[in-house]
């Protein structure tokens, strides 16, 4: 890892954010396993360096679009545990008042335009957000997160073409975790992923998605250039998801081996890697780190307890928010 910032605070915040994501997911998984969470959810564990490396290079006013595997993006862009857990449990105080749930969590206050349950569904939205910035003369940059599987969607090629033609300040961030659902990427993606962006004249980079500093350094550079009108850009971040495709995907040896999972977890974990770097560099002691971990763990446990006790929305909310200017659509 290469030292890219001089500010100790920044490094510690990056570490903390990665731990917050992992801890959030561990708790979410537990909620599922104990049948306390309605429906299913997709864990971001293992991919923390991607969301954190990228979002730490963004301002609050910059926008992101997220995916079905979206808790990591949401946390990294600044969301609070309480509102997130409330949303996962369908409670009134959730970010979306319980209407969206895990797959639609959005946090407008921090520029998160929302998770999306349609694979590739946010590519148009991200490009449109960049269009707004250009039209209104703002210096906002938009990052579009999506998986390797989503590169099969035609929409991606339609919007990349327009983004390139119109030099829009958007960064397409492909989180290549090697799988789309229960299928290996190489079985469903022909040729090279970065070459597809390059075909539109978009500058494309492949980066180690387990190295938060590498991700952050590249993103800082691209964001700065996108702000100057040199966009769009494309990043392929090589990463890995630790859990199944969703929390219920437990028996998965038919599509990937336990050894492979073990290897990524033991030898390429983004948090372990960054932690030892912080200690090596004298930025934090083991004790500092343990204290930080414990604090995050406590925060998460408190937020879960809060969310469990929180009320569901009142039934009268069911026909609210169908239209913006009509309080109850069916009244």
């Amino acid at each position: 890892m290469v030292k890219t910032k001089t500010n100790t605070e920044d490094y510690l915040r990056m570490y903390r954010q990665m731990v917050r994501i992992r801890t959030f997911e561990d708790n979410a998984n537990q909620l599922y396993l104990s049948a306390k969470m309605p429906g299913l959810t997709h864990m971001y564990s293992g991919e923390e360096a991607v969301a954190v490396g990228i979002c730490e290079a963004l301002k609050v006013t910059d926008k992101i679009t997220s995916t079905h595997r979206g808790h990591g993006h949401c946390v990294a862009k600044g969301a609070e545990f309480k509102e997130m857990f409330c949303e996962l449990l369908g409670k009134e105080e959730g970010y979306c008042r319980g209407k969206g749930g895990s797959m639609h969590i959005a946090d407008q206050s921090n520029g998160n335009l929302g998770a999306n349950a349609i694979v590739g569904g946010s590519m148009g939205i991200a490009t449109g957000s960049a269009f707004t910035a250009k039209l209104l003369g703002k210096d906002d940059v938009t990052v579009c997160f999506f998986g390797d599987g989503a590169t099969a969607q035609g929409l991606m090629y339609e919007v990349m073409n327009m983004a390139a033609l119109w030099k829009l300040p958007v960064i397409y961030a492909c989180e290549n975790n090697g799988y789309s659902e229960y299928t290996k990427t190489e079985e469903i993606a022909a040729g090279s992923i970065t070459a597809r962006a390059e075909a539109f004249g978009i500058e494309a980079h492949q980066v180690d998605g387990q190295d938060v500093l590498a991700v952050n350094e590249l993103t800082q550079d691209l964001v700065a250039r996108a702000r100057k009108g040199e966009g769009p850009f494309f990043m392929e971040l090589m990463t890995y998801r630790y859990h199944g495709h969703h929390v219920g995907d437990i028996n998965r040896e038919y599509y990937r081996s336990k050894e492979e999972e073990q290897d990524w977890k033991e030898n390429r974990d983004p948090i372990i890697k960054f932690r030892s770097w912080l200690v090596e560099q004298g930025i934090a002691t083991e004790d500092d780190i343990e204290a930080m971990n414990a604090e995050v763990k406590k925060d998460a446990e408190e937020a879960v307890a809060y969310a469990e006790a929180a009320p569901y929305p009142d039934e009268t909310e069911v026909d609210m928010h169908v239209f913006t200017d009509i309080k109850h659509a069916l009244a």
Partner: protein
Amino acid sequence: MREITLSQAVNEALAEEMRRDETVFIIGEDVAEAGTPFKVLSGLVEEFGTERVVDTPIAEPGFMGLAVGAAMTGTRPVVDLMFGDFIYLIMDQLCNQAAKTHYMSGGKMSAPLVLRTNMGATRRSAAQHSQSLHALVAHIPGLKVAMPSSAYEAKGLMKTAIRDNNPVVIFEDKLMYNDKAPVPEEEFLIPFGEANVKREGRDITLIATSSMVQVCEAAAEILAKEGIDAEVIDPRTIVPLDEETLIASAKKTSRVIVVDEGHQSYGITGEIAGRINEKAFYHLDAPVLRMGAMDVPVPFSPALEDITVPTPETVAENARKLMSGEMIHAA
């Protein structure tokens, strides 16, 4: 008679038809080794190989379009669309291409394909994985639409669909995959356009599709205890629609409720109510009532989701009102 699940019934129908006709093939996401997320197709790739059970990239318009072309040139594709909600992505290929090929070519070409997909809320899957969108395709001339209400129908209708020379869309309720029903071991087909009178009754007709058949049967039980004798009819296919059976029942009982899980407005319930109005008006003692899903996107929160769909209690409640004449005064 032996009982099998709806999922096994679909699997058997496909296997039998694939053995009978080597031009039948399955195409979609994670259909082969994974056997779909609902495990409906498990075992088929082992028997028929990856050439006839084809895993695709996440490219719905692409594989739908490919299926249309394959169907036009001598094969019988069964397209697997993982969630009914993704039908929006393939609308052009389905509605502009497949549905119109025969007509536009003056009867010279056809697209004998089956689109298998699902419907149904209350699975806590939120707004983009819970919709029942059969009305959208039923609106398009050239497409047939089947809605199995149990394992028996799922098998018989699937076999008929595969042999039909037109594009057929089958909506399976995703909450019913594990529901068992008696299904004969001997081969059988269920012709399209033949409604099934699930329960005979004198006082009121409940016309129901898919999982709403169960709901109406349960409502009929409740009503029977109160001395109201309800007839329950399952049209089984909504295109073609067995108007004759529905009209005859309306004339007999003089009161009708149509229950369906699509949104109530501009849906199947309105269409069926309209036909009964046109053809049985002078036999009716009350307005024909529509009961669909509430006209809101499906909310995630269980507290809200459960009140968006008809239940045995709400159907029974409306039946009582029709019987007591309350609705006549309201109208």
